[in-house]
């Protein structure tokens, strides 16, 4: 029975959320929830950890910031000092206001792209990759809960019973 998976379908996100709370209270481990939109407050209930994407974004931003500053320093001060509007170009600090807009843009560029790419890679939703969605209708108006009986040490029948009580409209075993 190790590879058996139970999918419980709901037609309302609030019903699913309440059901999930009851199941978790009974000690059931919910592996995943598929929904067409983010359900407010579901993450702590089913034990999804807080995302670390923000930390990644901060690191990408720092990389962008330093790359831009180092780049500007090399291009505009060391390699080929240019006289633009008579601005002093001997030292980095004298020219720093001119570099700020570019630094800002580059920070945003790297943070945003890095974040998006990390997100796609981590979810493995790159172009051409097949969707790993058990039910296509979860992209429309249905909500599906995925439970592995192997995680829970209860029989499939007991689990179905519990899911029925939470108001699931369809329980399927695959």
């Amino acid at each position: 029975m190790a590879d058996k998976v139970i999918y419980a379908t709901y037609d309302d996100d609030t019903v699913l959320l309440e059901g999930a709370k009851k199941l978790v209270a009974k000690g059931v481990h919910i592996r995943d929830v598929f929904s067409p939109f983010p359900i407010h407050g579901i993450d702590p209930v089913i034990g999804v950890k807080q995302t670390r994407l923000a930390i990644c974004a901060f690191i990408y931003g720092l990389i962008g910031l330093s790359l831009a500053l180092v780049g500007m320093y090399y291009f505009m001060i060391v390699d080929w000092p240019m006289n633009i509007g008579g601005k002093p170009n001997d030292f980095f600090y004298q020219n720093i206001p001119a570099f700020i807009p570019i630094t800002f843009e580059f920070t945003v560029l790297l943070a945003a792209h890095g974040m998006a790419l990390t997100y796609f890679l981590r979810n493995w939703t790159l172009p051409g990759v097949e969707a790993r969605n058990p039910y296509p209708y979860t992209t429309d108006d249905k909500f599906v809960m995925e439970i592995h009986p192997a995680d829970n040490h209860v029989t499939v029948d007991e689990l179905s019973q519990m899911l029925n009580e939470t108001g699931s409209i369809l329980i399927e075993e695959r």
């Binding site: 407010h40 407050g41 923000a54 901060f58 509007g85 008579g86 601005k87 206001p97 001119a98 700020i100 807009p101």
Partner: protein
């Protein structure tokens, strides 16, 4: 729940005011500058700074109404109470402008009629060229119009809010949306012109089209800092039981975000003038960099880097300790921002001593006394606001 203005707080604020009065008297007597300009500059810095906090609170309240936002309903009385200082703030500003008209101080160089007289030694062609806008009668019409309309809206929103508690229903709510929209349009325009008239005209020859937004962002961020700090204080004392971590988080986000707005506008103004390097524009910054270098750049970094580095993380905005530390630092920072708008154009060089500190404390005491007194006038929690229930369940 009703707010109780504790005896200790009353005594503390009274002591602050007493320090302020002493600083004013001794400062005035020891003031060696021309026409006691240093004394009057301090009246204006503090008068404007604390007036601006209540004006910013009024603006924020109108923003809540116009956008029909629910999340801040449980702290609505705090915002309202803060906006109630606006009458006294306006009175202080009027006294200051009257003193200018009577030539008791020379903060406003252009108020001297000699500069418009072509036969006079003091004739100033540039100022005379601005006479169509920058003349005393028109200045007074504008000033009284801004102050009158702003005070009227502060009075109106307060009255309606108390009325809503009694009446219930949604009638007041919809009336507030219309009034708030009218106020926001008026404020969008007049916050810029007021900052030209009152602050930019100190450096009469100089002009910057961005100045209005820069001052406005300063007004807004000062108000948000005060709202965060006072909400934390009131919650700590148990007067705001419905305020949860999410409300504090939202207020913290505002403080964080508007600090960025302020830094963005501060830098944009500096950058454009630095880059184009036009003599009539750079004078403003030359004075500041020559005599106030460390203060000038230090304030910018303080007001930008502290909120950015410390408040960026989600948990920091939900932790009261971080908010208080950052809030207090940038509160002082934004006071110095107003200081640097006024002093270089009036005194030319750094004057900072007992008078500045004492008068800041005095005005702070007066401001807090008036605001806390306004808190006692109404229950801390609104009744019958259509979004009250939603606001109580705010969860982010």
């Amino acid at each position: 729940m009703d707010f109780i203005f504790s005896k200790r707080a009353k005594i503390t604020f009274s002591i602050l005011m007493l320090i302020g009065v002493i600083a004013m008297i001794f400062g005035f007597m020891n003031d060696q500058t021309d026409h006691h300009n240093r004394f009057w500059a301090n009246i204006f810095i503090n008068g404007f700074f604390f007036f601006a906090i209540s004006l910013g609170a009024l603006f924020f309240l109108a923003l809540q109404y116009a956008t029909e936002a629910s999340y801040m309903v449980v702290v609505k009385r705090v915002i309202e109470g803060t906006s109630q200082f606006i009458y006294i703030g306006a009175a202080i500003l009027i006294v200051f402008f009257l003193a200018g008209t009577f030539h008791w101080h020379h903060i406003y160089h252009w108020m001297d009629p000699e500069v418009y007289n072509p036969d006079s030694d003091h004739y100033d062609a540039i100022i005379a060229g601005k006479a169509a806008y920058l003349n005393q009668p028109f200045f007074w019409i504008r000033t009284l119009a801004y102050l009158g309309v702003w005070c009227y809206f502060a009075y109106l929103f307060r009255k309606r809010s108390l009325m809503e508690d009694e009446l219930g229903g949604t009638k007041t709510h919809f009336k507030n949306i219309t009034s708030a929209a009218i106020f926001l349009v008026f404020f969008a325009f007049t916050s810029s012109t007021a900052s030209w008239d009152w602050i930019m005209s100190i450096d009469t020859h100089w002009f910057s089209t961005l100045f209005g937004w820069y001052v406005f962002s300063g007004i807004w961020v000062s108000a948000m800092i005060f709202l965060v700090l006072v909400t934390i204080y009131l919650k700590g004392k148990g007067f705001l039981p419905a305020v949860n971590k999410s409300h504090i988080h939202d207020l913290g986000k505002w403080m964080f975000a508007i600090s960025f707005l302020w830094s963005y506008l501060w830098f944009s103004q500096f950058e454009l003038i630095w880059y184009s390097n036009i003599p009539e524009e750079v004078t403003y910054y030359i004075t500041r960099i020559e005599h106030f270098k460390w203060l000038f750049f230090g304030i910018f970094f303080m007001n930008f880097v502290f909120p950015m580095v410390i408040l960026m993380a989600r948990d920091a905005k939900r932790t009261i300790g971080y908010l208080i530390v950052v809030g207090l630092i940038i509160f002082v920072g934004h006071w110095f921002d107003v200081y640097l708008m006024v002093v270089p154009g009036t005194l030319g060089e750094l004057h900072f001593g007992f008078m500045e500190i004492g008068m800041f404390l005095g005005f702070l005491g007066l401001f807090l006394y008036v605001v806390f007194n306004a808190f006692t006038k109404a229950p801390m929690m609104v009744k019958n606001h259509p979004y009250l229930e939603e606001s109580k369940h705010l969860h982010i």
